[in-house]
Each structure stands twice: as C-alpha cells, then as structure tokens.
Subunit: 214 residues, 2 copies
DNA sequence: CAGCATCCGCTTTGATACTG
DNA sequence: CAGTATCAAAGCGGATGCTG
C-alpha cells in the first residue's frame, strides 16, 4: 500500500494493515493459530494466489507474521502471528463488535466458516444464569459444528462437535445466530428452516443483548 | 469496495470501512466534530477530490456519516458522524495504540497535524504524580500548539495555545513526542533542534510507558 | 470560494494458468 | 504444497473544469 504520509498513529497503522485482505489474513492467523499457505487460501475465499503471497511477504517484512519451516515428516511452511501481530487482537475485537449488527443481513453469496462465527459468539454471548449448572449447545451450521459451553457468565465457543449437548440447533447461519442472539423466536426460526433438538428452553439463558441492534 | 462476501463480522465491517481513506475520514470527523468538505480535504492531505466525494456518499449510505445544511448566514454543508459512526471510536482507539510504536519513524514527507498528535497523546500519556498540583505543558509542533493539562492521572490534550504553561517544548514532532514519551532525553532532543522553556523538570511527571517500544 | 464531476495515466486487484 | 506468471478490469491520483 502506498503510504498516507501522515504523521499519525492511525495512518501509520493503516500503512501496514490497511490493504485489502490484510486484516482478514491476520484474522485467520489469530483465530486458527499456525496455518499453511493452503489453509489460508481456504480461509480467505476469493483471494488471488499472488495477492496472498504478496500480503504474507509484506506482513513478514512488517514484523507481523513469521514463517517457519516445519521439520520432517511434515515438511511444509507454516505461518503464524508474531508478538507484534498478536497485538492486533484488540483491533480485530473492535471491528468484530462494530460489524456484528451487519450480520443480520446474509447476502446470498456469503461464504460461512464456523470459526468466524465461533469468534463472534464468544465475544458477545452472555449467560444470564451463571449460578446454575453449565450447559452445552451445539450449533450445526457453517462448515463444521460449533460447541458452546457456558463459563463464567459468558460462553466458550469451539469449532467441532460438542460432547454431550443439552440442545442442538441446526439451520442456516443467519437464522441460527438469530435464535442464539435472541433476535428470532423459535417459531419464526422454524419457518426459516431451523430445527432444534434437546431442551430448547435452556436457550433462554443465552443472548447477545450487549450489542445494540442485534 | 467490492464485498468480501464472507459471513463474518470483521469482513462485514471492512466491507463498510475497509476502503482506502475511509477510516481516516472517520478519524477526522471523530477528532474534529462537524466539518465542511474543505476542512476534510485539508485534514486528508493527498486525497483526490472525487474520492472524498465518493467516500462521503458511501459512508452516508452506510449510515456512518450524516450531512447537514447549515442555515444562513453560514450556508454551507456540514458533515458529521452519526451514532453508528461514533461507535467506530473503539476501532480508531485500537488502531491508535497499535500504530503508536510506528511513530518513532517520521518519514521526510510526512504531514503533521496537531489534532492527530493531541489524540494520540491523550490516549497514552500518564501522570506519575497525580496527587501534586496539576501542570500545563505547551507543545509547539505541527500546525498549531497543543496544550497538555494533567487530569486524573492522565492528560487532557487540546489543540491551541495553553493559558499559563509551566513548560513549553518546541521542535519537530518526532523529537517533541520523544521528549514527552520519555524515549528521548533532553540533551539528545536539543541536538535534534528541540528547545524548551519553563520548569523542564516537570516533564518527568509524564510518560507513555504503557506503550511497549515507544 | 465550496462542493463536487470528468478525464486520463498509472497502480492494484481478480481470475486463471502454470511450475518446482 | 507453495508459490509465480500473465493479463484484463477495477480503483486510485492528479489535474482541470464546472456550477451555485
């Protein structure tokens, strides 16, 4: 990216991470840890291969990303965030909170990856009754199931099947999030193709009320 | 901007504010409040006029910026952030913190605007001895003086001359910030053209130690 | 002068194909 | 798997011109 040539902290930051795709690449490494080039490609649907290579080079040069040669028998290149790269988490967090209200619209061509949803859920869902025994919810949407476990007044969201879910919610991402955030009641959700199993009443404990408009 | 077509809060946010110049335009409105088109142009040195008009239209459509017709005798168009636009402040804040270490390099062509510096100073400077009487420092750098006043363990930074400064620091932005952040001692600073007047010892009370590498 | 719109050369991006 | 190479299309930068 061409520098803004401004002596301003925001402009200097954007000189490094303001290019198209750059912050999404950082997101992938922040959410998934060490990644291979191919993992990054699938986590950034639509990116041109030359652009991914360019961005990785630029971020490496800026000290945000480090490249490691994995030893045999893996014998592949791995990319990870440096300490400086990890410090971008608050930026990703702030963008996540601001972008959440926009998730009420799911455009027809939108790709869904469960680890994106998991991250958003973890930073916004609250458990209204933390004193009661913890519950586990499995969301079947996106490209893999998401396990939600209440913990300390919030939830922990991990990609992968839950062990013994109290409730399971299956359907399109927008509708499933609508149910979890409390924006969509169950009747309406069912009309949008959502199906649930287990103790549906437990879902009342969760909601994303902290986010206005969600 | 072309949409990323990802059902992800960060991607949705960047669909709106990820374009070149967009976040800097939001920064100007956040730091200066209501602005005329011309004010924005001078606050975004180097932006092409058509791009500024495009960005303003896009942000207006996205509900981030609102346009107001000022009544006579002013009779001009004013732009301001909407409530939704104000909610971008945490994003700007996170970018500011991340970008601060990059301000140790001031490129030769970098434009300096005092309100950018004031914002960065206010979010990072701490007062080590808040129990002592408040002090006032005037920084003469950038395009206008900056008044720093200790308050509640931090500082309030405003653009404009200080009323009765205890200390005055004059010089190039990078060096003046170096002195205030405690990265540069006074001898070195003087060698870089910094001049001070008043009770220089008071500067010891301030520093930006919270920012690593600064 | 304030608030744009138009034009044009250049750079960046997107899509696809190809390679060690 | 981890990239390069190529080329068309889109976006940007800079200059200029237009309108109230």
């Amino acid at each position: 990216m061409r520098s803004y040539n401004e002596y301003c902290a925001i402009a200097k930051a954007l000189d490094v991470v303001g290019d198209r795709w750059t912050l999404l690449l950082v997101r992938e490494l922040a959410l998934r840890g060490r990644c291979r080039y191919t993992d990054l490609r699938t986590g950034l649907p639509g990116i041109a291969s030359n652009l991914l290579a360019d961005r990785l080079r630029e971020l490496e040069q800026a000290g945000v990303v480090a490249r490691e040669e994995a030893p045999p028998p893996i014998a592949t290149t791995l990319f990870r965030l440096t300490e400086r790269g990890e410090q971008l988490r608050p930026v990703l967090g702030a963008l996540t909170m601001w972008g959440l209200p926009l998730m009420t619209e799911q455009a027809p061509h939108d790709v869904v990856r469960s680890h994106w949803l998991a991250s958003a859920l973890e930073s916004t869902i609250t458990d209204h009754r933390p004193e009661e025994p913890p519950i586990t919810v499995e969301l079947r949407t996106g490209d893999a199931p998401i396990a939600l476990e209440t913990a300390g007044g919030g939830v922990r969201a991990t990609v992968g099947p839950a062990r013994a879910p109290d409730v399971t919610v299956t359907g399109e991402a927008r509708a499933v999030l609508g149910v979890i955030f409390g924006r969509l009641d169950l009747d309406r959700a069912r009309a949008q193709g959502v199906s649930c199993s287990g103790d549906v009443a437990l879902l009342e404990r969760l909601s994303g009320a902290a986010v206005p408009g969600l």
